[in-house]
């Protein structure tokens, strides 16, 4: 069997001047299209800039006579047959005619209509509908996430991988594959990103601005971006990397890709990097790279005990997320940030007020967190003052909880951890688990302060505060019926642009007698001060 190259046979474009008009035509051999459809094509073409006359028709004798009458006469058109499609154009300039002829087959395609209503069942089908896609958001079960991500990378898509429970070896091979091709894998277990002003996953609506942030912690990114917003600056991009990216098993592959991209990004002037402590080898590598960065970099490695000694002037370290946000803002706008922290004196006054009505046996902090980063950061805040806290997600050196369902002394629980969320919605969406836990804590007469976080933004509960208000009142009542007083400290991660009415959420908490602090770190600090003062 001989195979003719069809492309050669079928493509034939010509442009020339006839009179004062640029004329051109394209012939597609043996391409029969219905005349009604061709009239629609001609109408759309005639609406293009610089196009004066259009004919789109099959090369029948009658049609060819029509073309000759219009001034199109040459051997190629005349030799076309009734099954050959001819598109002939007259325009003001060769460029306007060429613009169409260069792309004539696209004009013969009909943009699929009403497809949004029908269902795509596979990535490839979705790509047919959206060939310009540049990002895939994957939230399928962990067993399937890696192979879907690989498929997406092979098709040139960046990956945002919300799915967790992905084996670390899969994460490594996906990230290596992506990095070789200039792509990024955000995740697995990545909850948050803001790309060019677009919030992906759990994210807040923040001002666009000069600060680019990379985070291996979802709520950490939310806290940082909202605090930058409240400080008066804004975010160019917030890039999640997944919680394991800076472990030595992965080596910071996505962090490095994100750093390079933000370094090259004209919108970004200052870069912030948020993570739990990187692996020892990865930290060295990362510091080396940060020191080469042409833009200033602020880091916040929550829970880290020791930085390497060699530190460049641009490499500024911070201890908490709110410090990181304040420093990055100051570096970006060149003046101190709008104050988002409350002063020491104010804190002391609040502590005194809250402890006044407590009984002598009340002494413990119980943190019931929706955001894992907040639980982790709060442990660091406690550790700084020598407080021992138990947690189901313990900070390096802190004791774990034997039973995650039962608090012991000072306890900070991450209700979003895997042991709670297997086959259940995340506590940022569904408050049921936090409600139950808060009421359980209220039964313990030794509890002095409940430490809570509320996360607003896309995909979070429509009313996170409202979900818990009744529970908080009930907990406070339980304590007061015992003759004690339960202090409740909270922070609200969000902005006034978020769908949940940021100010309303704060006001509702305050009306319920909750001490609302401007950041999660400060809510932890307040709780620490209260606990220490009760100890004394």
């Amino acid at each position: 069997m001989e195979f003719v190259d069809v492309k050669e046979l079928r493509f034939l474009n010509r442009v020339e001047w006839i009179g004062s008009m640029a004329t051109g035509y394209a012939i597609r051999r043996n391409l029969y299209l219905d005349s009604v459809f061709l009239m629609q094509v001609a109408k759309r073409l005639s609406e293009e800039p610089g196009i004066e006359q259009v004919a789109a028709l099959m090369g029948t004798e009658k049609n060819k006579r029509l073309l000759v009458g219009m001034g199109f006469e040459n051997t190629e058109i005349l030799s076309a047959g009734p099954n050959d499609l001819i598109i002939a154009l007259k325009g003001k300039s060769p460029s306007s005619v060429n613009a169409i002829l260069d792309n004539v087959d696209a004009w013969l395609l009909r943009k699929p209509s009403g497809l949004d209503k029908s269902v795509s069942r596979t990535l490839d089908q979705a790509l047919v509908r959206q060939p310009h896609a540049n990002l895939i958001v994957i939230s399928v079960p962990g067993d399937y996430a890696a192979s879907e991500a690989r498929r997406a990378l092979e098709r040139g898509l960046n990956v945002f991988m919300f799915s967790s429970n992905v084996p670390v070896e899969d994460e490594l091979s996906l990230k290596r594959y992506a990095r070789e091709r200039g792509l990024i894998v955000m995740g697995p277990d990545c909850g948050t990103a803001i790309i060019a002003g677009v919030g992906v996953g759990f994210s807040n609506i923040v001002r666009r601005g000069p600060i680019g942030v990379i985070g291996a912690m979802g709520t950490g990114l939310q806290e940082f971006t909202t605090l930058v917003h409240q400080s008066g600056s804004g975010i160019s991009h917030a890039i999640g990397t997944g919680s394991r990216d800076l472990l030595d098993a992965i080596g910071g592959i996505s962090t490095l890709s994100a750093l390079e991209a933000l370094e090259a990004d004209p919108q970004t002037e200052v870069i912030a990097l948020l993570s739990k402590p990187p692996g020892a080898k990865t930290l060295v590598l990362l510091v080396e790279r940060i020191n080469l960065c042409i833009k200033p970099v602020v880091t916040c490695f929550l829970g880290i005990r020791k930085y390497p000694s060699e530190m460049d002037i641009r490499f500024r370290t911070t201890h908490t997320l709110d410090e990181a946000a304040a420093l990055a803002t100051q570096m970006a706008v060149g003046k101190p940030a709008v104050r988002t922290a409350i002063g020491d004196q104010e804190l002391k006054t609040l502590v005194a007020r809250e402890r006044a009505r407590m009984t002598p046996e009340q002494k413990y902090i119980r943190g019931i967190f929706a955001g894992g980063t907040f639980c982790y950061q709060a442990q660091q805040v406690m550790r700084d003052a020598g407080l021992v806290v138990h947690s189901n997600a313990p900070l390096d050196g802190m004791p774990g909880l034997a039973d995650p369902l039962r608090s012991v002394e000072h306890t900070l629980v991450d209700i979003g951890a895997d042991e709670f969320t297997q086959a259940r919605p995340h506590p940022m969406i569904d408050a049921t688990l936090r409600r139950e836990r808060i009421l359980a804590e209220a039964q313990d007469p030794q509890v002095a302060v409940l430490l809570l976080d509320f996360v607003l933004g896309y995909n979070a509960s429509p009313d996170p505060v409202g979900d818990l208000l009744g529970t908080i009142a009930e907990a406070k009542l339980t304590a007061s019926q015992r003759g004690g007083f339960l202090s409740v400290a909270a922070s609200v991660c969000g902005t006034e642009r978020d769908p949940q009415h940021f100010q309303e959420q704060i006001r509702a908490l305050e009306e319920a007698g909750v001490v609302v602090l401007p950041s999660s770190a400060q809510a932890a600090l307040f709780s620490r001060m209260l606990a220490l003062s009760l100890q004394a």
Binding site: L31, D34, F37, E154
Partner: protein
């Protein structure tokens, strides 16, 4: 390694789809099968579907074979025919092994006149017998055979004369037009049949076909709405065969059923059959018949779906969806669903109801297994026992097992297991 094979498959599948799209089927002759079909031997009966022997044939195909033995004069009676068949004196081979296809039982013997289609782009030929409503369904009565005899003695020669007068007839334009006139070219080839009759009437006159034969032939064409099915099947066969034997391609090059088994063939897997038991057809019955009478899925006509017509073009032919009690929306969704298991859509065969989207073309075995979306096939219904004409029509989907087997074989051949 893994990346390379994916790349090879994509490349091969694009080539397979390109060849299907570029195919240019032209009716070049109508002639006795024994004279034109390669490899025909004496006392041979070609049949639809994957290979099957007399013992394993379904009732309708047995009836059709008996009919062919009577038609050829190899037997004088039904009983004699059965004796010959049980003695093993007849050789059976699938049409697909001879570049041919046949509707329902698909039986072709040497004196049966067939359409000769040449794919002008690639030079390959394909053959199909004419469509009728009796013998191919297993009816071997005198009446049923009368139509075969008239086809052989009057209608086919008249059409051949007309065809020679015009030097062949390009079918692609007829097919493209018909798809825009509410045909899907399988259960509903009405518009195409009319277009074909229009194209042939004058040439037959010019060729000097005797008046009586001419009237009979034009009358036959005018009254035979399914006539073009034989031509669309031969065109589809010529189209699909051009995409055969492309290394690494996972594109399906044939789907065919013999009423006992459903079989598929895949471009990158030579001409191997991947079979599973033939499924039942979901459909409507003609008066006097019901579900209890129905045989299982049968016929080579799924070659039409293989190239994107039939069930794949249902969106443009909602009229026949009533066969399964469907709505126009369902018809559209069938066509869109098929896009999820194919390599591409046809730039030429467009459906107005789908906003002039092209028909889905190039079934990819991988995508079928991945999505569990099975090709949707329009079909007619035959009786489970010999001796009956058409009993109904409906829709059917192939067994997933055919595609699973093909994928496993693919992995084996290309060193992945």
């Amino acid at each position: 390694m893994a990346k390379d094979i994916k790349h090879e498959i994509e490349r091969a599948n694009s080539e397979a789809a390109r060849r299907m799209v570029a195919a240019d089927p032209v009716l070049v002759d109508i002639a006795p099968a024994g004279e034109v079909i390669p490899g025909f031997k004496d006392k041979m009966v070609l049949h639809s579907g994957p290979p099957v022997d007399w013992q394993h044939m379904c009732g309708a195909q047995k009836g059709a074979v008996i009919g062919m033995l009577l038609f050829e004069g190899w037997a004088k009676s039904k009983d004699q025919a059965i004796k010959i068949l049980e003695d093993g004196a007849i050789t059976f081979e699938p049409n697909h092994h001879h570049q041919a296809v046949g509707p329902m039982a698909g039986t072709i013997t040497p004196s049966m006149w067939v359409f000769v289609i040449e794919n002008k782009t690639f030079g390959n030929r394909a053959f199909c017998r004419q469509v009728e409503g009796r013998q191919q369904f297993g009816d071997y009565s005198q009446e049923a055979l009368q139509d075969l005899i008239r086809w052989r003695d009057i209608w086919a020669p008249a059409l051949r004369a007309g065809l020679r007068q015009v030097g062949g007839l390009s079918l692609k334009p007829i097919i493209a037009r018909a798809l825009q006139m509410g045909d899907e070219l399988h259960n509903r080839p009405n518009a195409a049949s009319s277009l074909f009759a229009n194209a042939m009437a004058v040439p037959m006159m010019k060729a000097g076909v005797p008046k009586e034969a001419l009237i009979s032939t034009v009358d036959y064409l005018a009254g035979h709405e399914l006539f073009f099915l034989g031509l669309s099947m031969a065109s589809a066969k010529a189209t699909a065969d051009a995409a055969r034997r492309i290394e690494y391609s996972t594109v399906v090059t044939a789907m065919a059923r013999n009423g006992t088994e459903f079989g598929i063939q895949v471009s990158g897997l030579e001409d191997e059959w991947f079979t599973a038991p033939a499924p039942p057809v979901e459909g409507l019955f003609l008066p006097g018949y019901g579900k209890q009478d129905a045989g299982l899925d049968m016929g080579d006509s799924a070659i039409n779906e293989t190239v994107g017509w039939g069930g794949f073009a249902l969106g443009g032919a909602p009229g026949i969806l009533s066969l399964v009690g469907g709505t126009p929306e369902e018809a559209l969704s069938y066509s869109r669903e098929m896009q999820q298991i194919t390599v591409t859509t046809s730039p030429e065969f467009r459906i107005p109801a789908l906003g002039f989207e092209g028909t889905a073309i190039g079934i990819d075995v991988r995508k079928v297994v991945q999505t569990n979306i099975l090709p949707v096939i329009d079909t007619a219904l035959a009786h489970k026992d010999p001796g009956h004409p058409i009993i109904g029509a409906g829709l059917v989907r192939p067994p997933l097992e055919c595609f699973r087997k093909a994928l496993l074989r693919f992995a084996e051949k290309y060193g992945l297991t």
